[in-house]
């Protein structure tokens, strides 16, 4: 079996490991690190369930090799809440009933975080464009879009709720 040494940070914590070359990032997170919040579904970059951030950029963890995480900064759904306090996006998804079964939710949240980190005040069009590659089969997209927009609005001006 072909292996490679790698080290990276996952949600701020340094990780050093020897991984199979064939190991995907999703398998690495779920099976090696026990971070099961990242879901795997289509395995071809269509559904968005496995979305994580690498160096702040959204990627499909099902189609990236763990070997390629060497020297990079990984953020997963487990890193969103801080000290038991939900991230504003998580709170907004809760407020807006933006999930039902929840399978797609980690992917939607990470993609939404990537968007707001890039563009803190996106309009509906940009939200739709960024979430276009994430599939939800039960809630529908309207409440998800509204949840993301509510966080954008909340951040408006001097940070008071909009």
């Amino acid at each position: 079996m072909n292996v490679v040494e790698m080290h990276c940070t996952v949600n701020g914590r340094p990780v050093r490991d020897t991984v199979l070359v064939r190991l995907t990032v999703a398998e690495f997170l779920r099976d090696r690190l026990g971070l099961r919040g990242t879901k795997v579904s289509c395995e071809m970059q269509v559904c968005g369930a496995c979305t994580i951030l690498v160096d702040g950029e959204p990627v499909s963890s099902c189609c990236m090799l763990a070997a390629d995480l060497d020297g990079r900064r990984v953020e997963t759904i487990e890193g969103l809440a801080r000290g038991g306090e939900l991230h504003p996006l998580q709170a907004a998804f809760w407020e807006h009933n933006a999930f039902q079964c929840g399978f797609c939710t980690p992917g939607f949240l990470m993609m939404s975080k990537a968007l707001l980190d890039t563009e803190p005040d996106p309009g509906p069009e940009l939200v739709r464009e960024w979430l276009d590659g994430n599939i939800c089969r039960c809630t529908g997209y309207r409440s998800i879009e509204q949840a993301v927009l509510s966080v954008a609005t909340t951040r408006d001006g001097d940070g008071r709720p909009g």
Partner: protein
């Protein structure tokens, strides 16, 4: 799990080329290759990681008289190309097209070189490159060669690259007619139909992608002959029926779109 595979990280372009063959395949964004490995449609024994090669990186402009050439490193991602001031200024149609390929994740990791090398039959990029007369700089054990994208794309997932060759840069001649434009019909994850239109001196170059084995190029003369040429092209072009629509449906959409764009009216 993917099949067992080795990983090599060559330090130079020469070393990368020396290591390439049918079983040792170039690897960058993984957008096409990782699913291909998973499905078993490609079974190489090793990946040659191209991501650290500076020759394949960066976006440069070269001025030669009246023409300016845009040289885009093969490792450039769709998002990087879409955000590049040079690409937006010199090839706005290209910038717009790569900004709408796949989804944000695909655009973040997928490279332009990989898009073309895989000869994905629904590639918006290939269609646009053919319409703009773009080419690629290819490196191999016999040195470098320039290949037009039109000659690069042979058929679905089939390029004219040899197994020991790789795309170094995409070379786009500029400027383009300001009327150059691209339209696509897309309801699923890949386009049903993509149409590039580039006005020129001899007529309007039309390239139809996503609906055929590979992009189809035609020059429609301007003036009185335009409608006849358009009708003949739309009637004769070989289109494929698939889950995004029948060939007849795509033909009707194509005819309607081109009549609106080139004849200034909607088809009946």
């Amino acid at each position: 799990m993917l099949p067992d595979i080795a990983l090599h990280r060559p330090a130079s372009l020469a070393a990368a080329v020396a290591g390439l063959d049918w079983d040792h395949v170039g690897y960058a964004g993984g957008t096409e290759l990782v699913p291909a490995l998973r499905l078993g449609v490609r079974r190489p024994t090793a990946l040659i990681d191209l991501k650290r090669l500076p020759e394949l990186s960066g976006i440069e402009e070269a001025v030669d008289g009246d023409t300016e050439t845009l040289s885009i490193g093969a490792l450039t991602t769709h998002r990087q190309a879409a955000a590049s001031p040079a690409v937006r200024r010199l090839a706005p149609m290209l910038a717009d097209v790569v900004a709408h390929v796949g989804n944000v994740r695909v655009r973040t990791t997928g490279t332009l070189g990989g898009n073309l090398a895989f000869a994905e039959p629904r590639s918006d990029l290939a269609t646009v490159c053919i319409a703009l007369g773009a080419g690629v700089d290819v490196a191999g054990p016999r040195g470098h060669r320039h290949v037009s994208v039109d000659d690069l794309i042979v058929g679905p997932y089939e390029s004219s690259l040899e197994p020991d060759e790789l795309i170094v840069r995409l070379v786009v001649p500029t400027p383009h007619d300001p009327g150059a434009r691209y339209w696509k019909l897309q309801t699923m994850e890949r386009p049903t139909l993509g149409v590039a239109i580039v006005p020129g001196e001899e007529g309007v170059t039309v390239v139809v992608g996503a609906a055929a084995e590979r992009p189809v190029r035609v020059v429609v003369p301007s003036g009185a002959d335009a409608e006849t040429a358009l009708d003949a092209f739309c009637a004769g072009v070989e289109l494929i029926s698939d889950m995004t629509g029948s060939a007849d449906y795509k033909r009707a959409v194509l005819r309607h779109h081109l009549a609106g764009e080139l004849l200034g009216r909607r088809a009946a």
